[in-house]
């Protein structure tokens, strides 16, 4: 088979791998190094002046992201202080009931959606590439887009409280309270946070692909840093946890905007469906927050113990195990809703079972410290505080997992205490430990030891003064979310202690925040590896360079800086892979999933305005409907699509100037990949997994109504037209077949036939969409939840059909304009993959609309 007939996507690496010791020992001449450094610096230069904000590099976006999340956290913390002031004495009238309800709703929502989850993503974007010796994340513009979405959505949501227009039905937004709530508060919550959830999923996709495909050559799954394992697990959890909430938001907003009665019991709806969807998200969410923080501890503990982590496999087991088990806990937030005892028992059991992997994690850390020579550093002090607080929260968690006990303490201050112990111990303290530990990595300066100890002791004692008494406050009968309380319950003094404590915590955070922002110009730069860590991030260069790593190393150990003594010198000299940027392009190496064998050079994207514009228009599409203004929303959505298409067209899967590139050490790698070899394909695959989960949640909704409601569908209800549904489904199936066929035809060189298929397919998609719309047109979605559910499924498949049509058109245009050729067909692979999912979605929708209700 001759070389020129091999599709570019199937080109394989050529040359020597792994590198031999002689090759690695060969010095790189000084003048070559100087040239390489110059070209690299040019390719990775951060834009200057006001163009700085067009940067997409992980080292910039990551810092903005963390600082924004931290700012939101401080705002939500101020809200907590206001609430504590109101609770200082019984029957206080400092803050009105209405404002208090807005405050606790925003405090919870902001801490969860604007701080905890984004903080994980922000920190990961910032440091994951360094752990992996990668130059950047695989999709830098996606990170930037996610960040701008987060900023716009976050400011919108949190800003609403300044206008007293904030949501006020609790962060869990239970209907009917939240559906009947007047004003735009609930809409702000639903649309604003959906917008941010989309950004979260985008970041999760990127992080998963980063951990799977952007590891340095040789970093097999058994030697990758534990942080990367946690990123994989948490990314996977986000993919399965957020979509049910998005599906719930979708139904909820349809009820708020168009009066489709999903949660209205008078028309067959059921508020319990929201509770299920919310907590299927809400409980894994807790572990989504907790696991990355444990991951930070897993990076700090070995450094402190001066030895490799003990029980690497155990920790991987506990991360993966926790990820799974955390999906079997959601009903423990619903123990008092009157479900059958046996059902509660299952969730009680899983809630106890999840303690086991969590315990293993903690014991593995303690065991590492026992087996190591411990040097107590400031980050370790915070980890010690985390352990003390988290074990207390975990143990009260074991208590509330016992359903009968939860019947007592559910929705009391006991739970407030419990959840703050788990979140401070499981998230806040480890994250601050991480800030102290990694600050020298991303700012090349140390934070103050003295201020750090002050902050620690203030926050630690203040925290316990605030929250330890709350256990008793709850047992004495104080429910959550009360803006005040009567005298005589014996809780006055407890509330006063808590309020005092909360201000001590606030003082600690003030010290911590000052330590971060205080000018450090006069402070010396740090030594290169100030803590003596063994993982790759400490190979960073001082003074700072923007290219990530000078050359991408070959890794054979879990702690390469400890075990591979010549590694850093060789990296610095550009001895390893990709030491140069001959074409002036930003590049990183893509490797295989299990063994990290190099398979491709990935050209990553550089600074751009288009991401900011795309985020702005996406924001408009979400924010205008809050005020029930739909025309500008649709215009914004259209512009957002145009921006994203422009961005994809101009910077992804472009045919390269040459097929193979010499990456150093005698290895040549392809510069283009399509299908499963390509990172883009993986991103589509992972995104669609999340999308399918959201769709599955809607289907679950249909069956949920069927079980919970004795009349679903109501007797004598009108059904969708079976024939029309069948035809619509067939049209989608055919469109899928044409897309799949076009991929084969194109690759075989039959470009005209492929174009014909790609031209015909959108027409079929459109007629399929029309068919689905037509089939439910006679049903009145406001009359009962059954027709409303059928309409919701229709809306879902039609919305996806629009995307599918655009994708087919995109490939057709690509083929006509030379972006998509038989050799360079990554776009068509990705679109076909999308269509596999869409075809399946249409098939299931057809069955759910046309067939299943007739059998129920």
């Amino acid at each position: 088979m001759s070389q020129n007939r091999i599709p570019a996507g199937d080109l394989a690496a050529k040359g020597v791998y792994p590198p031999t010791e002689e090759m690695l020992n060969e010095p790189v001449p000084e003048e070559v190094q100087a040239g390489q450094r110059e070209r690299l610096a040019k390719a990775w230069k951060t834009p200057q002046g006001w163009r700085y904000w067009t940067a997409v590099n992980n080292s910039e976006v990551g810092v903005w992201y963390t600082m924004t999340a931290f700012a939101f956290m401080l705002m939500a913390g101020v809200m907590a202080l206001l609430m504590r002031l109101q609770l200082w004495v019984p029957e206080n009238d400092l803050i009105s009931a209405d404002m208090f309800n807005q405050l606790f709703t925003m405090h919870g929502s902001a801490m969860m959606f604007l701080f905890a989850v984004p903080m994980f993503e922000a920190i990961s974007i910032l440091i994951l590439p360094a752990f992996l010796g990668a130059r950047d994340m695989p999709f830098p513009r996606l990170s930037a887009y996610g960040y701008w979405c987060f900023l716009i959505g976050g400011v919108f949501v949190i800003g609403s409280i300044l206008f007293s227009a904030a949501p006020k039905a609790g962060w869990f937004m239970y209907p009917p309270l939240a559906t009947i709530e007047l004003g735009i508060g609930s809409d702000i919550w639903l649309l604003g946070l959906s917008f941010i959830e989309v950004a979260s999923i985008a970041a999760a996709v990127e992080l998963i692909v980063g951990a799977l495909k952007c590891r340095p050559p040789g970093m097999r799954v058994n030697v990758m840093p534990l942080y990367a394992w946690y990123v994989l697990v948490v990314g996977g959890m986000i993919l399965f946890a957020f979509p049910p909430l998005i599906a719930g938001d979708f139904l909820f907003e349809l009820e708020r905007s168009f009066d489709w009665p999903f949660f209205d019991h008078t028309r067959g709806g059921d508020p319990m469906l929201w509770q299920h969807l919310f907590w299927i998200f809400g409980h894994p969410e807790v572990y989504i927050i907790f696991l990355p923080s444990i991951a930070i501890a897993a990076m700090i503990v070995p450094t402190v113990a001066r030895r490799p982590i003990l029980g690497y496999s155990w920790i991987v087991l506990s991360a993966v195990g926790t990820g799974f088990l955390s999906f079997g806990l959601w009903v423990h937030h619903m123990f008092t809703t009157g479900l059958p005892n046996i059902s509660l028992g299952f969730f009680s059991a899983a809630s106890e079972a999840v303690v086991i992997p969590t315990g293993i994690q903690l014991f593995a850390f303690v065991a590492t410290l026992i087996a190591g020579r411990v040097v107590m550093t400031l980050p370790m002090l915070w980890i010690a505080g985390a352990l003390a607080i988290f074990t207390a929260g975990g143990l009260t968690g074991v208590m509330v997992a016992v359903a009968p006990f939860d019947w007592q303490v559910h929705d009391t201050y006991f739970i407030v205490a419990h959840l703050h112990y788990t979140l401070f111990g499981g998230m806040v303290f480890p994250v601050i430990a991480g800030v102290y530990y990694f600050f020298p990595f991303f700012r090349k300066k140390m934070l103050s030891e003295r201020l750090g100890r002050w902050a620690f002791w203030l926050i630690f004692t203040g925290f316990n003064i605030t929250f330890l008494p709350m256990h008793l406050t709850g047992l004495l009968g104080m429910p959550r979310r009360v803006y005040t309380y009567p005298e005589g319950l014996g809780i006055d003094w407890l509330n006063q202690i808590s309020t005092v404590g909360s201000f001590i915590v606030a003082a600690g955070f003030a010290v911590f925040a000052w330590d971060i922002v205080r000018p450090k110009k006069d402070q010396p730069q740090i030594a290169r590896n100030p803590w003596g860590g063994g993982t790759l991030e400490w190979s960073h260069e001082i003074p700072e360079t923007k290219w990530g790593v000078r050359s991408i190393p070959h890794i054979t150990s879990r702690y390469p800086l400890w075990d591979q003594p010549k590694l850093v010198d060789r990296m610095d000299a550009g001895r390893y892979y990709l030491p140069d940027a001959e074409e002036g392009l930003r590049e990183t190496v893509v490797t295989s999933v299990i063994d990290a064998r190099p398979i491709q050079v990935q050209r990553v994207t550089g600074p751009a305005y288009i991401t900011i514009m795309a985020a702005g228009f996406t924001g408009g599409a979400f924010i205008f409907p809050t005020f029930h203004i739909y025309t500008p929303a649709i215009i914004c959505a259209a512009f957002a699509v145009v921006c994203i298409l422009y961005w994809l067209w101009t910077s992804t899967a472009r045919p390269p100037e040459k097929d193979m590139k010499d990456v150093g050490l005698g290895l040549s790698l392809p510069t283009y990949a399509a299908g499963p070899q390509a990172v883009g394909w993986w991103a589509v695959w992972i995104t669609m997994l999340g999308d399918a989960t959201a769709f599955a949640s809607l289907v679950f909704g249909v069956f949920f109504y069927w079980t919970s409601n004795s009349a679903f569908p109501p007797p004598g209800a009108e059904h969708a037209s079976g024939y029309v549904v069948a035809l619509a489904t067939a049209a989608f199936a055919l469109s899928w077949a044409l897309t799949r066929g076009a991929r084969g035809l194109n690759r075989a060189g039959r470009v005209a036939a492929a174009r014909a298929a790609l031209a015909l397919a959108p027409l079929l998609t459109l007629s399929g969409m029309g068919g689905f719309i037509l089939s439910v047109l006679d049903l009145d979605p406001t009359s009962h939840v059954y027709p409303a559910m059928m309409w919701a499924l229709m809306v879902w498949v039609v919305a996806h059909g629009i995307v599918g049509t655009i994708m087919q058109g995109y490939c057709l245009a690509g083929s006509l304009l030379g972006k998509l050729t038989p050799r360079y067909d990554a776009d068509l692979w990705n679109v076909t993959l999308f269509w596999h999912f869409l075809g399946l979605t249409a098939l299931v929708t057809g069955a759910m609309i046309g067939l299943v209700p007739r059998l129920m």
Binding site: L325, G328, I555, T556
Partner: protein
Amino acid sequence: MDRDDHDRQPHPREDEHEFGEERESLWRIAFAPTIWAFHFAISYAAVSVYCFKFERMVDMGTLRLGLIAMTVVMLAAIAWIGWRAFRRWDVYDTGEFTNPEGSAEDRHQFLGHAGFLLAVVSFIGVVYDTLPLVILGTCR
């Protein structure tokens, strides 16, 4: 695609034939917890549907027996997966607990070890989730 032309490929080391990457899958370590997930979902769904829809038609005892039988099958499956993974870990022959090397063999054994431990935890999880079926016998 024809890939037998080794000149175009990086040279794999000898041991990589036995422990070749293409023989591995990250999914494998997730098999046991996936069984736990199915066991959990089926138990929960069956009891919910039964209690809301069919409580008056069928006896709860039949359902419990059916679910406990399913539990036994699933526990056996997890045990088998655990045994397979234990063999891959190969700790008796190698005496190696930690598998810290960047070699294909260590990676192979590591995945066995992680799979084995996950099977243990999944086994415990399934046993826990069966306790309500054994102890509680009504829809109340």
